[in-house]
Point group: C2
Chain length 241, copies 2
DNA sequence: CGGAGCCTTGAGTACCCTCAAAAACTGTGG
DNA sequence: CCACAGTTTTTGAGGGTACTCAAGGCTCCG
């Protein structure tokens, strides 16, 4: 299997890829790397000359404030670009860390530029991936601002399930999510204790079972209703873009 | 003054524009429209065939949940694209409304496509604008999740000031912001009452005066320190992109 | 079998919410 | 120029949500 298969699959979710385009993506020069949980993929304030794609595992964008408080602003799964925005932003305003052991690939920006020039359509699909990223961030803002704690957590679970399902990492309502409640707290903007109690509340609804590192959604529609979850923003539809 | 001047100025903030590029942008076919406060620029669930640029006034992205709660996920000022992401997303997952009377311009997507094909560099600058949008959203997530109420509000004020200053809509720490506390509440994820009290707290620090529709920052550095504000994410630097 | 990391529970407090109403401001018509 | 209605801001009171601090229990692995 070509190394960048997860990326190709992820792009192909949203639009038809011509075989030439597939080859173009798979032919990109890259640097592979394996990281252990806790290691940093991309450093805050760095000026990356390459962008990073997750091949396996979970990673997170994080910001650490002066008082030590941490906020996770995105979770990434296989096939996701973690810092494609750096291609244009130049300077990282956050860092990216491995939440689990994972494999990643770094693609030089000059390589991305070459691909985009050869295929403006692929360029638009790369653009699209940053834009979907933004749509997810809007959903997080909404959860954080206006959803009750259980709905906020439930919404995240729905989102993760659909995203993982789309790349065959979830089935029958279940997926592996080996991430501690501390990290969940920083993603939701909760305290650790509050995550724990919210999780208990969610379990009590019967919609979700969460034991160890396995999340099982027993009643997706129930959970979605509770969380006011509308999957539109994930753009899991194949359209000409 | 050409109609799309605010857009050109906004693009030119982040990179040098060749005169041909300037002409290309200013030559885009568009439809102008004047809106009164409260009117909708772009409807949720619509499939726009054009994207909208603010020429004057303030607009907001908003999501209304089933229980009637509202979250504003972005504020836009002159020169901002409000829904450029729809160029690729196709389906709006939120609406855009006028917070004040304003003028806007709608540019057809086929026109954007034409410009991007003629100038890949302009294409990257359009892309950049969606990516900066995303950076702002990350800052909002961080504020919402991990900043104290006064810091959250203070951070927003710092952000607005720098953005407005960059397009000559703010001077000497002051800017016009004719937006009610109700809207502010929906942007911050606070209740109306809490906005009012947080504002009083902020006034009490002496860093900010906010009377009627004029915001005056008395001590920007003080406010920035209180709010843990770091302007990096706004990308107000001219760089080759 | 011991230790590290993670999850869970308890208790007390601070923050922020809702409900409700008063005060101030804005614009309009008489 | 004033009266008045509508909107926006401000205040008060009481309650719930989420936080911090602190400690105990579980699980996995060496």
């Amino acid at each position: 299997m070509p190394k960048l298969q997860p990326l190709v699959r992820s792009l192909a979710l949203r639009d038809e890829l011509a075989s030439g385009e597939r080859a173009l993506v798979e032919g990109m020069t890259m640097r592979r790397r394996v990281l252990r949980k806790g290691e940093e993929l991309v450093a805050q304030n760095s000026q990356p000359s390459e962008s990073c794609i997750v091949l396996s595992g979970f990673t997170a964008r994080e910001v650490v404030l002066a008082d030590g408080k941490r906020q996770i602003t995105a979770l990434h799964i296989a096939g996701d670009f973690v810092d494609l925005h750096a291609f244009l932003l130049k300077l990282m305003d956050h860092s990216v860390v491995a939440l689990t052991d994972c494999e990643v690939a770094y693609v030089p920006h000059r390589e991305l530029l070459r691909v985009i020039e050869q295929s403006p359509h692929l360029g638009r699909l790369f653009w699209l991936s940053t834009v979907i990223d933004g749509a997810i961030q809007r959903a997080w803002i909404t959860s954080s601002g206006r959803r009750a704690a259980t709905a906020h957590l439930g919404h995240l679970i729905c989102e993760l399930y659909l995203r993982l399902h789309a790349v065959d990492l979830a089935r029958d309502g279940s997926f592996a999510f080996p991430v501690a409640q501390t990290e969940l707290a920083d993603a939701l903007g909760f305290s650790l204790v509050h995550v724990n109690r919210t999780l208990q509340e969610l379990r009590a609804t019967g919609f979700v079972r969460w034991k160890g590192s396995t999340v099982a959604i027993v009643d997706f529609d129930g959970l979605a209703a509770l969380s006011q979850f509308d999957p539109t923003y994930l753009n899991l539809v194949k359209l000409p873009r």
